[in-house]
């Protein structure tokens, strides 16, 4: 079977797997950003208990394997009465894992906003919440965007693990195709190219655009 014939025969399944991977990545990214923001801010809270909760979360999800976390969420949590549908378990695991890494990016970026900005906001008598939302975070976002670009690419590639709990993503589909055809080079080669295209020609340009957009808002473009 030529490669074109291979694509003709399995193209639909590869495409549907790609769509699942993309949707999974987008949902996991949204979750990761929300978690990162919350946990990053909590790490800077004056209250030790709040800081502690965030630290424990980050330590657990950064310090253990994503695959193990995925299995925990899908196979172990049901034993405690918390059951996720496999697609949900997939993006929740990936999102929570990357959210822990993202939290440190958020924290680091907030801390690297010059101290003078905090002081100027305080001198204007802004409340702590307004100081954060209106003055510090907009500047922190620009500082952390390039690192988020890397993280999101890691996340896209990390989603391949959800195939192991039978989410029908790109990796799952090509594994199935390989299992029936034994055309490993074609199957996994195609997956390789698709992951690369998604990362290089979709995610990266999107993050670059976002950086330019934020720079314009800061009057730096």
């Amino acid at each position: 079977m030529s490669y074109l014939e291979f694509l003709g025969q399995y193209g639909d399944r590869i495409l549907s797997g790609t769509v699942v991977t993309v949707v999974l990545t987008v949902l996991a990214a949204l979750l990761a950003v929300a978690i990162a923001l919350a946990a990053g801010l909590m790490r800077l809270a004056p209250n030790a208990l709040v800081r502690g909760v965030a630290t424990v979360y980050i330590e657990i999800f950064r310090g253990t394997s994503l695959l193990v976390q995925l299995y925990w969420i899908f196979f172990v949590l049901p034993l405690f009465g918390i059951t996720f549908e496999k697609f949900t378990a997939g993006f929740v695991a990936v999102g929570m894992n990357l959210g822990a890494y993202g939290a440190e990016l958020v924290r680091g970026a907030i801390l690297s906003v010059p101290r003078g900005q905090w002081e100027a906001a305080l001198a204007l008598n802004m409340s702590p919440a307004k100081r954060m939302w209106r003055v510090i975070l907009p500047q922190a976002v620009l500082i952390m965007l390039p690192s988020w670009g890397n993280l999101l690419i890691e996340m896209l590639k990390g989603t391949a693990l959800v195939a192991l709990i039978a989410v029908t993503d790109l990796m799952f589909q090509v594994k199935q195709i390989n299992g029936t055809t034994f055309q490993s080079a074609e199957a996994f080669g195609t997956a390789l190219i698709i992951y690369y295209i998604l990362a290089r020609f979709m995610l990266t340009p999107f993050m670059r655009w976002l950086e330019r957009f934020m720079q314009r808002r800061l009057g730096r473009a």
């Binding site: 010059p114 003078g116 900005q117 002081e119 100027a120 906001a121 305080l122 001198a123 204007l124 008598n125 802004m126 409340s127 307004k130 209106r134 003055v135 907009p138 500047q139 808002r217 800061l218 009057g219 730096r220």
Partner: protein, 273 residues
């Protein structure tokens, strides 16, 4: 802040001439390093007081304590007759809560050495930020107020520029307008010309001269511009080692300094020019 005996400090300053700002035995230290040693300093309403002195003498700390950017370890600061970082509780003073602190802080405005404009906002937005989001003014009112102030500092035509597009002198003028937009009673200027190129210092000092002439503000300024300090101040304080070594009218302090350290400092500054 350490617990301290607050019994010697009144809950409120009373009398005919209550100073706008009053430091009473104010102490500030970092560990064993005392940077402010039992400071007593009264500033009358409408008075322009300049602080000079060698670096590390605690000049900037005075302003930062007044802006509540630094906590104090002892004593009480009164602003407009009321304690700044303490509040009355029964018959004594206790540490102020956030609400009280914010009410007191609203009387004070500050300009910084490095301007500290918000880079993601235009000049106009920088000026409107406080009035809209702290004072609760409508955008229209805040805009009118801000445009008026930007015109006063000569920045009306640059109001839609971001700080990155402005020179240091221009940024500092916007920063002055931003602080003034909050209508403070006391304005603090912390070495506002130190980070500027020599040729643009004049544009900032001229704005401050204008403020002195046109507004009845109480001002406290730290500066290295001795000439400017001499002809704009009502009083000059020479700081040394966290204390006021000597103070007086500018012509007196610059013309006839009594203390040896003041003489040394002033002659060293003169040599540098």
């Amino acid at each position: 802040m350490n617990s301290q005996d607050m019994s010697g400090f009144p809950l409120e300053l009373q009398g005919e001439t209550v100073p706008m700002v009053s430091f009473r035995k104010v102490t500030k230290s970092y560990g064993n390093l005392v940077v402010m040693d039992s400071l007593d300093l009264d500033i009358a309403e409408g008075e322009m007081v300049t602080i000079i002195g060698p670096s590390g003498s605690g000049k900037t700390t005075v302003l930062r304590m007044l802006m509540t950017l630094e906590t104090i370890n002892g004593g009480v600061i009164y602003v407009d007759g009321k304690p700044l970082t303490h509040m009355p509780d029964g018959n004594g003073l206790v540490h102020a809560n956030d609400r009280y602190l914010r009410r007191m802080r609203s009387k004070i405005g500050m300009c910084f050495q490095h301007f500290n404009l918000f880079p993601h906002m235009t000049a106009l937005e920088n000026c409107m930020e406080g009035p809209v989001h702290v004072l609760g003014l409508s955008k229209k009112e805040a805009r009118e107020r801000s445009e008026e102030l930007l015109a006063m500092v000569g920045m009306a035509d640059k109001r839609n520029q971001h700080p990155s597009r402005l020179s240091g002198g221009q940024q500092q003028r916007v920063a002055i307008a931003r602080a003034m937009a909050m209508r403070p009673k006391v304005m603090l200027f912390d070495e506002v010309t130190s980070a500027l190129d020599p040729e643009v210092i004049g544009e900032v000092t001229n704005v401050i001269r204008k403020l002195v002439a046109e507004h009845h503000l109480t001002m406290l300024m730290v500066t290295h511009q001795m000439g400017f300090a001499k002809d704009i101040s009502d009083r000059v304080c020479f700081f040394y080692g966290g204390r006021i070594e000597e103070q007086g009218a500018p012509e007196e302090l610059f013309g006839n300094p009594r203390r040896e350290r003041t003489q040394q400092f002033l002659s060293a500054v003169k040599e540098a020019i």
